[in-house]
């Protein structure tokens, strides 16, 4: 069992991780319209099966309902959101302002990202902001929380109390800086990490070895990202078209060799096998299940992976789920 740590915020995610449980997070993409009921429906599917839900911020640069409003809606529906914020669309004034807005609703988790380039989305001729980058956003939120100061140096009347996270992609290039880059994010203030979806287990294990060699797994909580394939086409698409995702050919073959009507089930099986292998890796503190437009499968994955029921923080003395130790 992992050693217990002391939580610094009232984030449910941080408490679960600090207790030594394997955390389960998922994500919810806001709709391309103003119908908040869509979020409530997606939230209801996930509720009880995950600890917190990431709310994506105009992912792939497609304009959507904003992550802040969506986070508030999900919180009002009884889920705990992780507010994703990208530095593509807002300058430092807007970022700080939105963080305070989120904090005013006691949103206790934030994931600091750079964001996909706008050329992938529906506003290809738009300007991008990039006043600061994701590392600097981490530093900024840490300063706002820990020192109670705006980046301009003035005091914040009620500082945000957020558990601060970042993304890590163990599969992007250049590989040799993937561990140093994580170290840099931790130094900038990342208290938890959600990784890119993992398909290439060998490469992920090599990365985790490097992470452990530097003791970084003890300085942050690493949640391993998984995404089930719905079809063989999706596996091929992710292999060839999505930058920074590494899908080994044998997985694509395994999906392609499966009859069409059984591909979804095979995708779930691969995902469950991945989770089982990840559970054995020291330093993996939980799972970030990104079932893209397939949120309804998350409860099944969580149950079949032996991650259900989720810890009840109100009940004292509960035994945390088994985690790998060396």
């Amino acid at each position: 069992m992992r050693e217990k740590r002391t939580p610094r915020t009232s984030s449910r995610l941080e408490k679960i991780l600090a207790e030594g449980h394997l955390a389960v997070t998922s994500e919810c993409g806001p709709p391309r319209g103003s119908d908040g009921a869509v979020l409530e429906k997606k939230g209801a599917m996930l509720k009880g099966y995950i600890d917190v839900v990431n709310v994506t911020d105009n992912q792939t640069s497609m304009t959507r309902l904003c992550s802040l409003a969506a986070s508030i809606r999900l919180k009002q529906a009884g889920l705990e959101p992780v507010l994703q914020m990208v530095t593509r669309d807002r300058n430092r004034i807007a970022l700080q302002s939105d963080i305070l807005g989120a904090a005013s609703f006691d949103i206790n988790n934030i994931l600091c990202l750079t964001g996909d380039h706008q050329s992938f989305g529906d506003c290809k001729t738009g300007q991008n902001v990039h006043d600061i980058d994701s590392m600097q956003l981490l530093q900024m939120v840490r300063q706002m929380r820990d020192e109670g100061l705006f980046i301009g140096g003035d005091a914040i009347s009620r500082p945000p109390e957020m558990f601060i996270g970042a993304a890590a992609n163990p599969f992007a290039d250049p590989f040799e800086i993937r561990v140093p880059r994580l170290a840099k994010k931790i130094a900038a203030g990342a208290e938890f990490i959600q990784t890119q979806c993992i398909y290439n287990m060998e490469k992920f294990e090599a990365w985790m070895q490097g992470v452990r060699d530097r003791g970084l797994h003890e300085e942050t909580y690493i949640l391993a990202g998984v995404t089930p394939f719905k079809t063989a086409g999706m596996a091929k698409y992710m292999r060839s078209r999505v930058p920074g995702i590494d899908v080994p050919d044998e997985l694509v073959k395994r999906m392609s060799d499966t009859p069409k009507e059984k591909q979804a089930e095979e995708g779930i099986t691969i995902c469950l096998e991945t989770i089982e292998r990840l559970k054995e890796i020291e330093g993996v503190c939980g799972f970030h299940i990104m079932a893209i437009e397939w949120e309804e499968k998350v409860p099944e994955i969580v149950q079949r992976a032996g991650l259900y029921p989720r810890p009840d923080l109100e009940a004292p003395g509960q035994e945390p789920a088994k985690v790998a130790t060396s």
């Binding site: 430092r92 380039h117 050329s119 990039h130 980058d133 590392m135 992007a172 290039d173 140093p180 920074g244």
Partner: protein
């Protein structure tokens, strides 16, 4: 140097078709190097416009001229007569040249023949690429001599982002990832330890964000 690219002829034509005496004025420094706006190119654009005018049955007297630099009044004298005789100027300079010509000949409409594209260099014959955004606070000393502000699509100061694949940028495989170049260079210099230094917030007040910039040399 400043790199520019000629606008489509149709766009130029729409701007100038109602003039009577048009001077196409070349600028023989930066934009001559990229063969887009030098005095020679001004001559070619003038010829193309004469053909266009003939084809459209429009009567315009189109002449050509050129000076060494349109961004400095000291170089304007040789163009004085040509400009006096014209009722409008089509400048093939960068946007700076266009504005200096317009400010000097206050009664003449001045039109741009180029789109000013970037500050760059000559990578090889016929290939020009961006190297600087004139941000006003140079970071090259920290980044192995490679500029992430002009060469990274997200101007990430602590890169690379997750979209760097095989040394290429996520937006286009033709574009090298600036941070791959930086990492390679730091390795060559034996300075990989510098990779983990966090770049502080950039002071954009010296960039476009701070408003139009001026440099005053009291000694000149």
């Amino acid at each position: 140097m400043i790199v520019g690219q000629q606008k489509p002829l149709e766009e130029i034509w729409e701007m100038v078709k109602d003039r009577k005496r048009l001077l196409v004025l070349g600028c023989n420094t930066c934009v001559a190097i990229c063969h887009e706006g030098g005095n020679k190119e001004a001559g070619i654009i003038a010829s193309l416009l004469r053909m266009k005018a003939q084809k459209e049955g429009v009567s315009i007297k189109i002449t050509e001229g050129g000076i060494e630099r349109q961004c400095e009044e000291e170089f304007f004298a040789p163009a004085q007569t040509d400009i006096d005789e014209a009722d409008a100027v089509l400048s093939t300079a960068c946007g700076i040249g266009v504005q200096f010509i317009a400010a000097f000949w206050k009664d003449k409409p001045v039109f741009p023949a180029l789109n000013t594209t970037f500050l760059g260099g000559v990578e090889q014959i016929g290939v020009f690429s961006e190297r600087c955004q004139a941000c006003g606070s140079c970071v090259l000393g920290r980044t192995g001599g490679i500029c992430p502000i002009s060469r990274c699509a997200k101007r990430v100061l602590n890169g690379p982002c997750g979209g760097s694949v095989d040394g290429r940028c996520e937006i286009n495989k033709e574009i090298p990832c600036a941070w791959q170049l930086i990492v390679d260079r730091l390795k060559e210099l034996g300075q990989m330890d510098r990779y983990e230094e966090l770049s502080p917030l950039q002071d954009w007040s010296k960039d476009r964000a701070g408003g139009p910039r001026t440099l005053k040399r009291e000694d000149l």
